[in-house]
Symmetry: C2
Subunit: 482 residues, 2 copies
């Protein structure tokens, strides 16, 4: 306790009153993850104002042996930014570091501190006719640092890749307080290991991301948004291949949802309308985007794509949004699935991927398998078919007790789904990371070779284990024999 007091005095000395607090009113909101699954305790909340302050703070934590939990917008899905219950750790918020430090329109690059919020970045570059090609539900709170640390995804990964693909340069404070400065964007650089790539997606366990240089793209001049009704998920896969062949780089999005999900949205969301007259086992939402040079013929190309797909027998019916309002309505149907499904009762949600080529077969095969194995449940898969990544929900049987069901039957179901995913060569975390939510599942199902390498790298770069302890990296077995 004495040591904790001494640390807090030193931290306050270093960062000032704005930079360090123990006031429960200020600290407590950041001790629970936004989904409300985890609540921890902390020695205090640090909000440094600069990379130099982060560096000095990390060194101070090293001196006192204080564990550090880095935090951005606290909108992660896996509890990766929530401290444990010991109360030993410091929450290190990057939110005060929210300056855009360089913006080069011609080079289409922007450099900013880690605490810049995604939506702020969008607005900044859109005002200059550019766009940052990554977005997701939590854009109003998610920070650039958090998005990098979790290698966030979203609905534009199909064409533009995940956060990793947007990062041109990075700055991070390592466990010993040294500053890894690789902010200068070099398109080609072969001076050894790509440490930037190692830090992206490491969930704050190898270093604290303090800044980044990101790539930007020209604003889309126009988009064409289509809705197609399909008889079979395997036709969705064929339609995807067809669209990729015909639309090439213009294919911006390809999302699928089953009849059940669309019905749930139509029942849940006031004013929602189905884009098509009839009902279909599956629905696909397809978006093409065009730069200025190609905008005038985009609708024609969308029309041609749907006609040829219809002739090939891939779609039962289809339509193109007539205007931007209707395009927004189509996307709203997709975005409302999660809340609509949630309103139907308890469900286990899984953020999984398999190879893109296998996803249709995976869904077709495993949905009945899960429903048969756990009578009364309903399995619903929807989302980014083009990325081989679906949200795979298993809804509880009628009458299941919320809270109780998730902790008992739900756990068994999740383990079963994760087993299936692993058998299909897939990932138990496509987008949301491991955090504390899936660390034990990773230990259970991950490749032992890969886990061993992760442990070795972690031990090398953070030998005292002070950076985000308990997250992501499975613990080394107490007495390993292999």
């Amino acid at each position: 306790m004495m040591t904790q007091d001494a640390f807090c005095d030193a931290a306050r000395q270093l960062l000032g009153d704005r930079g360090f607090t123990q006031d429960p009113e200020l600290v407590d909101p950041w001790l629970t993850d936004w989904r409300g699954r985890y609540t921890g305790r902390a020695i205090g909340l640090a909000s440094p104002a600069s990379t130099a302050e982060v560096s000095a703070l990390v060194k101070l934590c090293g001196e006192y042996g204080v564990p550090i939990v880095p935090q951005g917008g606290n909108s992660g899905m896996s509890g990766g930014a929530t401290p444990d219950e010991s109360g030993d750790a410091l929450v290190l918020s990057l939110r005060r570091m929210n300056t855009i430090t360089r913006f080069d329109e011609d080079a289409r690059e922007i450099t900013c501190e880690a605490g810049v919020i995604l939506q702020t970045l969008h607005e900044k570059v859109e005002a200059h006719g550019l766009r940052f090609p990554l977005t997701l539900g939590g854009k109003g709170s998610a920070t650039i640092g958090g998005l990098i640390s979790t290698n966030a995804g979203g609905t534009q990964v199909l064409r533009h890749g995940s956060m990793r693909a947007q990062v041109l340069g990075i700055e991070a404070v390592m466990a010993d307080g040294s500053v890894f400065d690789s902010l200068v964007p070099l398109k080609k650089d072969n001076r050894g290991f790509d440490l930037k790539q190692l830090l992206i997606g490491s969930e704050g366990t190898l270093g604290v991301v303090t800044g980044a240089t990101l790539r930007l793209l020209p604003a889309l001049a126009e988009r064409a948004v289509m809705w197609a009704g399909l008889g079979d998920i395997r036709d969705a896969r064929k339609l995807l291949v067809h669209a990729q062949k015909q639309a090439g780089d213009e294919l911006e999005g390809f999302e699928v949802m089953p009849k059940h999900s669309l019905a749930a949205v139509l029942g849940h969301k006031h004013g929602a309308r189905s884009p098509l007259q009839g009902t279909h086992e599956w629905n696909a939402l397809i978006e093409l985007g065009a730069d200025a040079s190609d905008a005038d013929t985009l609708q024609d190309r969308a029309q041609a794509l749907l006609e040829s797909a219809f002739e090939a027998g891939l779609v039962e019916d289809a339509t193109i949004a007539m205007n931007e309002t209707q395009a927004e309505e189509f996307w709203m149907l997709r975005d409302e699935i999660a809340p609509a499904e949630r309103a139907l009762g308890p469900a286990m949600q899984h953020d999984i991927s398999v190879p893109v080529a296998s996803m249709a077969d995976f869904v077709a095969d495993t949905v009945p398998q899960v429903e048969e194995r756990f009578p009364g449940t309903r399995a619903v898969a929807f989302g980014h078919l083009g990325d081989g990544n679906v949200h795979y929900h298993v809804l509880a049987p009628q009458g299941a007790m919320p809270g109780e069901w998730e902790a008992s039957d739900g756990k068994v179901i999740s383990a079963y789904v994760h087993d299936l995913v692993t058998q299909w060569g897939g990932s138990i975390s496509a987008e949301h990371g491991i955090g504390q939510l899936k660390r034990d599942e990773l230990a259970r199902l991950g490749d032992p070779v890969q886990i061993a390498i992760m442990q070795q790298v972690k031990a090398a770069l953070d030998p005292r284990g002070l950076l985000n302890p308990g997250k992501l990296v499975p613990l080394a077995p107490e007495a390993s024999t292999h």
Copy 2:
């Protein structure tokens, strides 16, 4: 010696006569790098036929403490695949592992062993209407494993990225003989550190790449190749920005060369003709590429691009290749610069990058600086302006002694150029890697924080230092005090 004999017996036992040899006639050709800069000695040449054999061999090397020098096509530029002179190391050739194991046209993915030659891969996929979007001069010998280990570049990086961007999955044997198997291509996978990225570009110092899954693209339906004469390198930068705005994703290549380089090619290559009537201080070679859907209007777009650039005062004169033959002639002028310059006498060649936005200024500023500092020399920069990467040659003064000059004055000049690049925030190795050629320069000029992290990762994953010793990773100082 006894131990070496015992190792060789065991290796022969393991791999058979085709898999292990000490016959100088078979071994010697692989002990000198293809540029003839380095010659080493080796305990033998191992050519395993499978990943399992590589794994067993690496374990065997661990037992006997035999260092391993992995080798693909032996066409590297930095001596990274050549053993040292001790004769202690084993050359581990991957060339026998040359099977394409999976080819999925719809998914546009191919999985192959590390020893597959780049040109073989090109031919295989082109026969199916696809292309692998990376090529370089050594494509007839360079292997996929070598290209991955060095993160190779080429002339298509502008649009498609370097080798790193083509790799969807990887298989590698680690220092302890364990097999890192990440061949299954998951477009989204957030299960922790991206170890695949760590291995790419690590030059065999962290693991031996044994296989990969690569992305493919649709074949280009058409290309438009343009040649433009410019008054100033800074106009080339403006023309690049202009082309990126107007052509967007269609911009496949943007290369620049000064008057001197074009004159050298015209004087050196029989039958070579200048695309333009007059001479210009600088020349730009620009390529647009289009998929089938856009091919019909590509020439029009190229025409419009040049016209607007002319109106903006960016180009002095310009022309579009009328047919594929002429397009090949334009590219030949670019590809012949290196041999043509070489015929002019000794030169120090530098493979450097700075931020794309700074490259024109860097060339404009430093060329006169170098020529003034070293009287009688001529500095010539040409190549991938769109990547911020030029080949920066400094030609010896008239009468300099080949061989002698490079080792004396040439060394001083290279250090000077590397100093300049570092001051501009650039890289002393844009494409060719570090190998043994630039390891000391990396130690001299690299960021100490980054070097320390590299040393820590290397020590963690290869604690005995048996994987490609002496390459890439600067040695830790004997008695480090920081």
